[in-house]
């Protein structure tokens, strides 16, 4: 327990400079780089006085260093500022769209692991056979399929031609979505209301986006599981288990797989960034009202405070997930030291 506690403290201390660097990076990209938010927001024809007043109001006329201090001060108070185009705090639309993104990413992870781990195990067991080759080819090809293109193909095939699945949105028009907005997670809300038809509809809408996102990420998990299973199957403890006469399936799935899965957990943390990026593209393809769509909408509206807020939010999201994954890793693998 003391080991884990020490690890925890050290790991959290390491997260702070990393987060600080990321926040600085966001500031540099959004404020120091060329491109003036105010003039692009007001259009080219605004009178100089209006531009100056807006700059003053946003604190953009101060020297850049003081702007940076303001920015950090605001963040320390957990305040992301106000939207430029709408009368709302930056955090309002973000928190409103976040559940949709989390629902999609979680479903994507489940699909990715559900495909990746079994295929990885199979591929390792049947090493250098045709099945292994097919699985590895599939894993490699998933890297090169743009996630949005796969989404479009699924929409065309299952949505337009076969008319099996809906191709846009989180729920159908027959379901009144304002009825369940307790947590913003439609899966949870519909269940809380006990409305199973609506729950079914939400799940039905989730199928294509989740499969799209999950399939493109499954390749990484196939490769990772395969490589670790190969190591694991070659190791002494598997030999010892076999020698004791344990049934082959039990050797593979209980003894070998358990140990092979530890690095897969780390991979999950590393792949989380890719997952978020994939989610933005999947949201665009399936008109899924999440953070990614929000980001792009606000980029078109040139709503800089919200753009900045969303990117900061992603930075936080990534740091927290990588921290959590490392902690889980430390808990399940007693060999981990910092």
């Amino acid at each position: 327990m003391k080991r884990i506690l020490n690890y925890l403290i050290a790991r959290i201390l390491l997260t702070i400079p990393m987060l600080f660097i990321l926040l600085t990076l966001v500031f540099v990209v959004l404020r120091v780089m060329p491109g003036d938010p105010v003039s692009s927001m007001l259009g080219g024809h605004a009178p100089q006085a209006v531009i100056d007043a807006k700059r003053e109001a946003l604190g953009l006329n101060k020297p850049i260093f003081f702007q940076y201090l303001d920015y950090l001060g605001q963040l320390a108070r957990l305040d992301l500022g106000e939207s430029m185009n709408f009368k709302e705090k930056v955090s309002t639309p973000i928190l409103q769209k976040l559940p949709a993104t989390i629902e999609l990413t979680l479903a994507g992870i489940i699909v990715a692991l559900g495909i990746g781990i079994p295929l990885g195990v199979r591929s390792a067991r049947l090493r250098r056979t045709w099945q292994d080759s097919v699985i590895r080819f599939f894993a490699n090809i998933t890297y090169c399929i743009p996630v949005y293109w796969m989404g479009l193909m699924f929409q065309m095939l299952f949505g337009v031609f076969l008319n099996l699945f809906p191709i846009a949105g989180r729920v159908g028009t027959r379901v009144d979505s304002s009825e369940f907005d307790r947590t913003g997670f439609y899966i949870i809300d519909t269940l809380l209301k006990g409305n199973f038809t609506a729950f079914g509809d939400v799940m039905y809408h989730l199928v294509l986006p989740a499969v799209t996102l999950g399939l493109t990420l499954s390749g990484v998990f196939i490769r990772m599981t395969r490589a670790n299973m190969l190591d694991s199957l070659k190791s002494d403890f598997v030999l010892a288990t076999r020698a004791r006469g344990v049934a082959e399936n039990r050797v593979v799935y209980t003894h070998a797989l358990k140990n092979a899965l530890i690095p897969v957990v780390t991979m999950l943390g590393l792949e989380f960034a890719a997952l978020l990026a994939g989610a933005i593209l999947t949201e665009t393809t399936f008109s899924w009202p999440g953070m990614g769509r929000l980001l792009l909408e606000r980029i078109y509206n040139r709503d800089y405070p919200v753009i900045q807020g969303i990117i900061i939010f992603y930075a936080l999201f990534v740091s927290v997930v990588s921290l959590l994954v490392d902690i889980i890793y430390a808990v399940i693998d007693p060999r981990v030291k910092l």
Partner: protein, 306 residues
């Protein structure tokens, strides 16, 4: 596997010269051709795909009779002998746009990868070789950028810089600098402990000589492999940026942009507008990936398990 590795390893430790490198590479290839038949095929297939698309990029006129921007054709016509991949909503020939679009995506992806290599390699080399506080700070910065979702970073850059070929190249390049930095720094850390670097120092070689004549040539082999894989990555990022509308100004044929255009007409069943540009992106990325993976597995058999 192990016995096959030895000769290449010894040769790579000789003092580096272009002719020597070439002959040892050819030697390594011919030796490994028999042993790694599968990897060899992957490499050849990758090379073929890349070469074909490069040929198409340089001589588009040989492949398409139409101009990518001429709006003379019928609108939204399904593939037919006249327009083998059909036409889009403005009456442009989809095949012509696929042929000419390769110039855009290849240009951006290759120059972005070059740019990030030019920035990342020297930084990694010097940082790893020096190994002082600056190295620690730089590593922390690069690790932080690396941990951030690359596409989101590119989106932020592209949104700030506005559309344009140069701007999108910069936005893609920023994402991959940490990749080269981390790779080269890691390699440098390993190589600077090798006996031959020690020996160079012992006979009184200057720091710059040690770095550029002894460490750098041994780092560069790994970079070649990563460069090819990086182009595949950059292709995907460029296509994604233009798919979400942050890429290039209208008028430049671009696969990602054509896909987002096709998305609008999807409900009416115009499958040809989305199928072909997407296939092209996949094929191009696959070509560079296979090239990189084939090289990696033949040049560095220790990676083979993965």
């Amino acid at each position: 596997m192990a016995e096959n590795m030895k000769p290449t390893e010894v040769e790579s430790r000789r003092l580096w010269s272009p002719a020597g490198a070439l002959s040892s590479a050819i030697g390594a290839f011919s030796r490994s051709a028999k042993r790694y038949r599968m990897e060899w095929w992957i490499l050849v297939a990758g090379l073929l795909i890349v070469a074909l698309i490069l040929f198409m990029t340089f001589f588009p006129g040989l492949f398409s009779a139409y101009s990518p921007n001429s709006q003379d054709g019928p609108q939204l016509k399904a593939p037919s002998p006249g327009h083998i991949m059909g036409t889009d909503n403005l009456g442009r020939d989809v095949w012509a746009r696929v042929v000419y679009g390769s110039q855009t995506i290849l240009g951006v992806a290759i120059s972005a990868s070059l740019l990030s290599a030019i920035v990342g390699i020297p930084l990694g080399l010097i940082s790893g070789f020096a190994g002082n506080w600056a190295d620690k700070v730089l590593s922390l910065v690069m690790d932080s950028i690396y941990s951030f979702p690359g596409l989101i970073l590119a989106i932020a850059f592209a949104a700030m810089l506005g559309p344009g070929v140069v701007n999108i190249t910069l936005a893609v390049a920023v994402v991959y600098v940490p990749k080269y930095f981390r790779l080269v720094r890691g390699q440098t850390l390993q190589i600077k402990e090798e006996p031959y670097v020690e020996a160079a120092k012992a006979i009184g070689a200057k720091r710059s000589t040690t770095l550029f004549r002894y460490v750098f040539p041994n780092v560069i082999a790994t970079v070649v492999v990563v460069f090819s894989l990086n182009i595949a990555d950059a292709i995907m990022t460029e296509a994604a940026l233009s798919f979400i509308g942050l890429g290039l100004p209208a008028g430049i044929p671009d696969w990602g942009m054509d896909l987002s255009m096709g998305k609008k007409f999807l409900p009416s069943g115009t499958w040809w507008m989305i199928t072909f540009p997407g296939l092209a992106i996949m094929l191009l990325a696959l070509g560079f990936t296979m090239l990189g993976e084939g090289l990696a597995e033949i040049l560095n058999p220790r990676l083979q398990e993965y």
